[in-house]
C-alpha cells in the first residue's frame, strides 16, 4: 500500500556548531523523519577510504551505506551461516561466493551510482550502497538526521532513499547550518515496516511504471 505525497515547501536545516558541524534532517511528505536517506554534499573534503557492510541476522547492516568513489567496503559475515553476496548493479558487479567471516578482500567501489546488494541464498536480503563522487556522504539516523563536519554555507545537495521513486536522486542546493530546516523528500512509504521479505517488489515497480505511463 502506497501513499502519494506531494512536494511541500522545502527548507534545509543546517546547524553550524563550534566544531563546525552542519545537520541535515530529511522528512517524508508527511513531515515525519525519514531514516536511511542518503544525503550527499558537494563540498571540498577528503572522504573515508573504507567502509563496512555487515550481515547480521540475515540482514545487511546497515541497510543503506553511502560511500564515495574509491572506497573499499568490507562485507563481514557475523551470522553463523554462510552468505552469497552479489550485485548485478551497473556501477559495481561483484560476487562474494559463500563465505564465513570477513572475506580477505574488500570490494572497491569506483563508479558512482547505486549498487543493490543481494544474497543469492537469502532472497529477502537487500542492501544498498550509494556510491557518489561527492566527498561528503551520510545516511540519516532514526531521527532523519545526518551530520557533517562542515561549515555552514550554501552547498549543492543530493538526496536519495531506497523508496525514492525516481531513477535519478534528488539534486539541489541548500543553505546548510547546524539548524538547517528539514528537507522533505517525497518517497513512497510502505505501510508495513521494511519487511524481511517483500511480498511483491515487482508489482510495486511495475505499478509505478504503469502510473508513470499514465501520467
Amino acid at each position: 500500500m502506497f501513499r502519494q505525497l506531494g512536494w511541500l515547501a522545502a527548507g534545509v536545516m543546517a546547524a553550524l556548531t563550534a566544531q563546525a558541524e552542519v545537520r541535515v534532517q530529511v522528512v517524508d511528505g508527511q513531515g515525519q523523519p525519514l531514516a536511511d536517506a542518503v544525503v550527499s554534499i558537494q563540498a571540498p573534503g577528503t572522504p573515508a577510504s573504507t567502509a563496512v557492510m555487515d550481515q547480521v541476522g540475515k540482514q545487511f547492516v546497515p541497510r543503506v551505506l553511502a560511500v564515495s568513489t574509491g572506497t573499499a567496503v568490507a562485507f563481514p559475515n557475523r551470522d553463523d551461516i554462510r552468505h552469497h553476496v552479489y550485485s548485478f548493479s551497473e556501477p559495481k558487479r561483484f560476487e562474494l561466493r559463500l563465505y564465513h567471516g570477513t572475506p580477505s578482500q574488500p570490494v572497491q567501489f569506483d563508479s558512482p551510482g547505486l549498487v543493490v546488494l543481494g544474497c543469492n541464498i537469502h532472497d529477502w536480503m537487500v542492501g544498498y550502497i550509494y556510491v557518489s563522487a561527492d566527498p561528503w556522504l551520510a545516511v540519516t539516523d532514526a531521527q532523519g538526521i545526518a551530520r557533517f563536519a562542515l561549515l555552514a554555507g550554501d552547498y549543492p545537495l543530493t538526496l536519495w532513499h531506497p523508496d525514492w521513486p525516481q531513477p535519478q536522486p534528488w539534486q539541489g542546493r541548500a543553505a546548510l547550518s547546524a539548524n538547517t530546516p528539514a528537507l522533505p523528500l517525497a518517497v513512497r512509504i510502505s505501510a508495513a515496516a521494511p519487511a524481511a521479505a517483500p511480498s511483491n517488489p515487482f508489482a510495486e515497480a511495475f505499478q509505478r511504471t504503469l502510473q508513470q505511463h499514465a501520467d
Binding site: Y86, F88, S89, R93, V116, L117, G118, C119, N120, D123, M125, V126, N200, P201, F202, A203, E204, A205, F206, Q207, T209, L210, H213
Partner: protein
Amino acid sequence: MRISFFARVSLGVMLLLLLVIGSLAGALQQAAQQALERHAQEQLNIGARVFERLLALRSQQLQDEVRILSSDFGFRDAVASADVPTLRSALRNHGDRAEASEVLLLDLHGQIKASTSAAFAEGQPFAYAQALLTQLQNPQHLLVVPVDGVPHLLAAATVRAPLPVAVLIMGFEIDRALADELRQLTHLEVTLLVQTDNSKPRWLSTLLNAPAQQLELLRQLDSDSRHWQPLALAGEHYLSLAVPLSEAADYQISAFLHRPLNAVSAALLGLRERLLSIAGLAFGASLLLALLLARTVARPLERLARSAQRIGQGDYQAPIERLRVPELAALGAALGQMQHGIAERERQLAHNALHEPHSGLPNRTLLEERINSAIAAERPLGVLLIGVANFSEWLSARSGDAEQQLAQALAQQLLELRRPGLSVARLLDDRFAVLLEEASAAELITLADQCQQRLSQLRDWQGEALGLQVHIGVASYPQDAHSSEALLHCALAALHEAQMHHEPVQVYEQAKDAARQRQIILVRDLRQAAERGELQLHYQPKLNLRDGQIRQAEALLRWQHAELGWVSPGEFIPLAERTGSIAALTRWVIEAAVAQIAQWHAQGLVMQVSVNVSAADLAAFDVCQVVEQALSRHQLAAQQLVLEITESAVMQDQQHALAVLQALRELGVGLSVDDFGTGYSSLAQLRQLPVQELKIDQTFIRQLGPEGDDAVIVRSTIEMSHRLGLKVVAEGIESALVLELLRDWGCDVAQGYYISRPVPASALQAWLASDAAQVLQG
C-alpha cells in the same frame, strides 16, 4: 362370454401385477434417470474440479519452473547483462528444458525484452499485463491466454537482482495431450473454446474434428452458463458443463466437459430389462398362484357344481365329496344337507301327489297308475267305484274334523277287506275306489256287496249307525275298457246307474252307458235349445165330428238337435222333467202357441190350440200367470187356448193341481185331461176337476173295432163323459173305419194320422186349404 372365477382371479392378479410393476418401473426409471443424471452432473462437477486442479497443477509446475529459472544466479546474471541475444538463447534453452511453448522476459515497464515466440514480439508491450499482474499477486490464479487461437497456460515470476528487475513468463500450450489426459482421468470429453474479438472462435475437442459438427457444437453451447447443458451431437447425447478458464474484454477462453449419456441410457436399458424379467417372473408366479387357487378352490367348486347338477337332475344318492378347504367343506356339507332335504321333501311331495290327505289313501293319480300298470301287464282288473250319496249331508250335520274321521273310518273298513291284489283309493270326498286284480265278475260282485254292506252298516264308536247311502259301480278290464280313464268312467257310469235306480251295486253295461251319454248331451243342450232356435211347434189338426169342421189343433214340441237331429219328445220331455228344465220348455211352448194363434187370427184363421202341461209344470211354475200374460200380450180370447193335462199329473198333487186348474178355468182357458185311461183315475174323480174335455188315450183307439174290449171302453167312456158334460176327444185315429165308429158312437173330436200327422204351422194352413181337408170336413 362368461369368464370363470379362476380366470378372473388370474386376470385380476396379473392386472394388479402389471399395474404395480408398471408404476414401479416408471418410478424406478425416473429415480434411476434422476440418479444417473445427478451422477452425470456430479461427475461433471468432479471433472470440472479435476480439470481445474489439473490446470492448477500444471500452472504450479510451470510457476515452479519459472521461479527456479528466475532465481537462477546465472540467469539473473544474464538478465542483468541486458544482452538480448544472450537472454533469448537462455530463455530458449530453459524453455526447451521445460518443454514450454514460449518463454518471455518483460521489463518492469511491461515491454517484452526477449521472447522465444513470434507471437510475442520483442519490444512490444505484453498484451495480457492485467492478467499477469493478477497472477503475480495471486499465484493460484491461472493465466490462460489465447495464442494464435490456442489457449496457452502461462506462468510468471519476478526476476530479482535482488530487487525486481524483470518478469519471466513461460507458456504452455493447452493441447490435445492435456485434453486426453483429462479424459483418461475423468472419462469426460473435453472441448476448449477460444473466442476472440478479432478472429473466429477456435476449437479443440476430444469429441470430433469435423468442422460442420464443431459449428453445431458451437451453436449449442453457452459458454456463459454455469449450468449443465444437454448436447446432442451426431446422434450421441451428452451433458455438458462449461468451465471458464480466462476472460478479458477482448477474449474468452472456456473449457467444456462432456459426459456421454449413452452409458446412462445403457444403464436404464439394463434396469428395464431387469424389470421385465422381474415382471415375467411375477407373471409366472401369479399364474402358478392362480393354478394353485384353481386346484384348491376352482376345481372343488366345479365338482360341487356337478354335484349340485346331479341333485338338480334328481340324483339324491350320489355322495357329496369331502373337501379340505374349510369354506368349501362347509359348502359341501350344506349341499349334502340340501340334497337330503330335497330328497325328503320330494318324497313327501310324491306321497302328497299320489295320496289323499284325510284318509291317507292313494288318490286318483296313483289309482290310475296302478290300473295302467295292470293294463300294461294285461292283468285282468276290476274297479269298484263307491259313492256315498249322503256324504255331504252327513258332514254338514257334524262339525270339526268329522270329514277326516269319516274318511278314515271308511278307508279303514275298505282296507280291512284284505285280499291279495286289492288296493283302495279315495277319488273325491264321497268317492272311494277298490281295485281288485285277477278277479272274476262273480268275485267282483261279491266284493262289491261286501263293501256296500260294510260301509252302509258302519256305526260310530257309540254303536250308532251312520246311515250312509252307499252305491257301488263295477267295471272291469278287459271287458269294459282298455284304459284307466275309460275304466273309471265305466265304473262311474255304473255308479250313476246304481244311484239313479237306488241299487246297491250296479255292474257296468255298455248300452246303458250309450243311452246315458245321449241323455247327458240332451240334458246339456236342452237348456239352450230355445235360444238356438232348435225348438219348433208342430200342429196336429183335430176334426170336429159333430159339424165336420177343423177348428182345433194340438201343438206338439219338436226339437231339431244340431248334432243328433230330430229328438223325440218322448225322449227329451222326461229328461226335462227330471232335470228341471221342463218349466222353461213349457213356458216357451205356451208363448209360441199363443203367438201362433195370434198370427193365424190375424190371417183370418181361427184355431183353438191345445198345449200339453205336465205334472212337473204345475209344480214348477205359475202356469196360470204365464198363460194370462201370453194371452194379454197378443190380445187373444182365452177360449182359443186349451191346456191338456195328463191324468197322472192331476192325480199326483190333487190339491195344487185343482187350484191351478180352477185359476186357469177362471181365465177362460179350456182344460183337457190327456191320456185318459192310462192312469188309475176314475170318472168320479174327474168330475171334481174343472175340465171340459177328456182325451181317450190312443192305446184304446189304435186297434179299435166294432166289437171287443176297446170298443166297450171307448163307447162307455164317451157315454159317461157326455153324461158328465164333458166333450170326448179321441186321438190315434189311423183309419177311416175307426173314424166312422167313433162318429157313430158320438165322439166329439177326432185326431190322428188318418186325419193328418203333426205339421208345421205353415203346412197346416196349406193342408186346411187342400182337398183332403175339404173331404174330411165333408
